[in-house]
């Protein structure tokens, strides 16, 4: 056999598996899952004391290539992802040029083939140039390999265009991912509108800017039958709207980021631009609702919204600095330390959020270790101690809000199609 991962605790909700077994891999696929595999592997990994999961997929990252290679490249971003325990990432189309055509999709896939040890799943733009006016050539991009469509970062304001996009997405069965934001309501704000924006004299982003688009999208998804995915959900009302829509049978899912689960708008008080992202850090009440949604199941996936920005771009006045923080190299450790270790969620739920559900939402042949499936594995060490040090990141950017956090538990080995992509 190509590789045998021995005696790890395998957690795979798709097989209702949570026990210590061997996994045998041949030709990049899982060949055998058994309590003890008698054959020898050409390579063997001793996973005693470790947790073996179907490969984690970050369904929301910005790799910045083409266009902003000073902040991140497909090579550096996927290296960071592998180090963070991810076997695959879905990259947003707001590059320069925007991924709104077959040519750009093909370029990204080609670069990924040459420079990445993990899987890269491109997301195509909804509209040409993400200008929100005319539909991009979604079918051609689908033919070339996009897994979803989104105008993340420049969300579609015109509801008629959104309706058409949802209708059109049904031809190809492509999920529509929306960064929900009514630009007029957001009114050029740079942090959550509330007590702290008042105290700091910073222009606030009304939480309703997100909520009205979440509601709009749910209504349109019900009408069109499209598959809708809400990116980086961040408020209590948004979550309630998604929960209602789900109950009514709308095909809607949502993701949350670690920073929206772990930080509040109170953290902005030092005007630290590493606390500036969109959607912004929310109030304590919102964060409490998100944590509850994570534990009870309304939230489907964890995603980082990894948004690398060069230090020069972030060393600015708070209102002038760009939105976004990096997340690939901290997400798994943060969730293990702050949610799994205190028992808020179990390992099965962790795997659902990072692997099973992202794979299901994006319709990838991933998220399971059932024999015959691709051998993408994320191996975790729940005892490993680490401290977030941005200077050690493999990402080209350092804009983390978690600098100096001491965390217990983290990724140990990342395996893609039976090959070790990273090991710590």
């Amino acid at each position: 056999m190509q590789l045998i991962v021995r005696q790890g605790r395998v957690v795979d909700p798709t097989q209702k598996l949570n026990k210590i077994v061997d996994i045998g891999i041949e030709d990049g696929r899982v060949a055998e899952v058994a309590s003890r595999i008698r054959k020898r592997g050409r390579k063997e990994i001793d996973a005693r004391g470790l947790v073996v999961c179907p490969g984690f997929i970050d369904m929301h990252v910005h790799l910045r290539e083409p266009g902003r290679e000073d902040s991140e490249t497909i090579e550096s971003g996927t290296s960071a992802a592998a180090r963070g325990g991810f076997t695959g990432v879905a990259c947003m189309p707001n590059t320069n040029p925007v991924n709104d055509s077959e040519a750009v999709t093909a370029f990204i896939l080609e670069r990924a083939r040459n420079a990445s040890r993990i899987a890269v799943y491109p997301i195509g733009a909804i509209t040409k140039g993400s200008q929100g006016e005319t539909l991009a050539e979604i079918g051609e991009m689908h033919r070339t390999g996009i897994v979803a469509i989104s105008d993340d970062g420049r969300p579609v304001q015109n509801s008629q265009v959104m309706r058409r996009a949802m209708e059109y997405s049904c031809i190809f069965g492509l999920p529509v991912i929306d960064h929900c934001e009514d630009r007029e309501l957001a009114a050029g704000g740079c942090m959550h509108e509330g007590y702290y924006s008042t105290l700091l004299g910073l222009r606030g982003i009304n939480p309703a800017a997100e909520e009205v688009h979440v509601v709009r999208d749910c209504v349109l998804a019900r009408q069109t039958g499209a598959q809708l995915h809400i990116a980086h959900i961040s408020t209590r009302e948004s979550l309630a709207a998604v929960a209602r829509a789900k109950k009514e049978g709308v095909r809607v899912t949502c993701e949350v980021t670690p920073h929206h689960l772990l930080l509040t708008d109170a953290q902005v008080t030092s005007y630290d631009t590493n606390m500036k992202m969109n959607p912004p850090l929310r109030s304590k009440e919102d964060v409490d609702a998100l944590v509850q949604g994570l534990c009870t199941g309304v939230i489907d996936a964890l995603a980082t919204d990894h948004a690398p920005h060069n230090i020069n771009d972030k060393m600015l006045e708070f209102d002038r600095a760009p939105f976004g923080v990096v997340g690939l190299e901290t997400a798994v450790s943060l969730i293990l330390d702050r949610f799994v270790r205190p028992g808020l969620i179990g390992l099965e739920r962790l795997v659902e959020l990072f692997s099973t559900n992202p794979a299901r939402i994006l319709r990838l042949e991933r998220g399971t270790l059932a024999p015959g499936s691709w051998a993408d594995l994320t191996v975790l060490d729940c005892e490993r101690q680490s401290e977030v040090r941005s200077a050690e990141f493999l990402s080209r950017s350092r804009n983390t809000p978690f600098e100096g956090w001491k965390l217990k538990g983290g990724p140990a080995i990342t395996i893609v199609k039976g090959r070790v992509a990273w090991s710590g």
Binding site: Y195, T198, L199, G201, L202, R203, S270, L316, E317, R320
Partner: protein, 316 residues
């Protein structure tokens, strides 16, 4: 004389009641410099102060400049039009360049909230916030307090009504924080479109009706309402604004008999305030200007020698 044990003056938020009292007492003592035949003391001789103004300002900049001159400081005025900022230089780079000239104090005004805080982190010099975006304007609040104290003898227990565009006003925030810290009963008043969320938590009662704000007020602080606000749907028109929030002589009858009227300027006569109120005997608007110089002298004097201290953390 005692000094402020902090590197910068970034906002009222970071000041304790004792520190505010110290600044006001010092300003009281320095006020008489203006009455001397030679309006100068040697307190800042040999010290360099840079006035770094990224926003157009006449009165605040002049007030600081005069304060610095009366303290015998060496002054460098660095205005945005003549700087390299227009050539794309970042704030941090500008500050580092100025730092190389070894100033003791940098007075900064900037349209971005938090810009002085960013400078404080990269500069050894003391930073004095002369107004940052919609955030704070601490020396204005201090001079307002000095003016009130001069007339009323105290700040505690006074009903102080702040009326106008609260949302876009850094003066409103600094005033509210300061008056509240000193024990005054602060009321803010304006249409809901011009009052930010949770403003009450800064230490103020909120009303949308000017009559309620004026009722029994010891001090009435009027704030400017910019004409642009009507284009942004904050108010329907300046005329309607005047009809509901303008300070008229008739409305002034609701306030206490010995009330005073203040305005940080520049005034819009006929929009937020009537001429016969602005020019009435109870108006202390010009005293505010005179007190501005003494207050800024006090702040500069109390901070001189504090360059290089560790920046104080935000209190919240």
């Amino acid at each position: 004389m005692a000094s402020l044990n902090q590197k910068d003056l970034l906002g009222i938020e970071q000041l304790t009641v004792e520190e505010i009292q110290l600044i006001l007492d010092t300003a009281d003592a320095l006020r008489q410099v203006a009455d001397r035949p030679v309006k100068k003391v040697p307190a800042l001789r040999g010290k360099t102060v840079i006035n770094l103004f990224f926003e157009a300002s006449t009165r605040t900049r002049s007030s600081f400049e005069l304060a610095e001159k009366r303290l015998s400081a060496d002054i460098l005025n660095f205005a945005v039009s003549t700087s390299s900022v227009s050539k794309g230089e970042t704030l941090v780079d500008t500050a580092r360049n100025l730092e190389s000239m070894a100033p003791d104090i940098i007075v900064v005004r900037h349209s971005s909230a938090g810009a002085p805080h960013l400078l404080s982190r990269v500069c050894r010099s003391s930073i004095v916030n002369a107004g940052d975006g919609m955030h704070e304007h601490p020396t204005q609040a201090l001079l307002d307090a000095l003016t009130i104290r001069e007339v009323k003898g105290r700040l505690g227990d006074l009903k102080i009504a702040i009326i106008g565009d609260i949302s876009h006003s850094r003066v409103a925030r600094s005033d509210t924080l300061l008056f509240h810290k000193m024990g005054a009963k602060v009321w803010v008043c304006g249409p809901p479109t011009l009052i930010p969320w949770d403003y009450g938590k800064l230490g103020a009662r909120i009303t949308n009706h000017i009559e309620e704000a004026l009722e029994g007020a010891d001090v009435v602080m009027m704030l400017r309402v910019q004409h642009e606000r009507q284009n942004e749907a904050f108010v329907p028109s300046t005329r309607e604004y005047y009809n509901f929030y303008g300070l008229t002589r008739e409305r002034m009858r609701l306030a206490k008999r010995d009330t005073i009227v203040m305005h940080p300027g520049p005034m819009n006569r006929g929009v937020e305030i009537d001429s016969d109120v602005a020019d009435a005997p109870y108006s202390v608007i010009l005293d505010q200007v005179a007190n501005g110089i003494a207050t800024r002298m006090a702040v500069l004097y109390l901070l001189s020698g504090n360059a290089g201290l560790k920046p104080r953390k935000q209190s919240r």
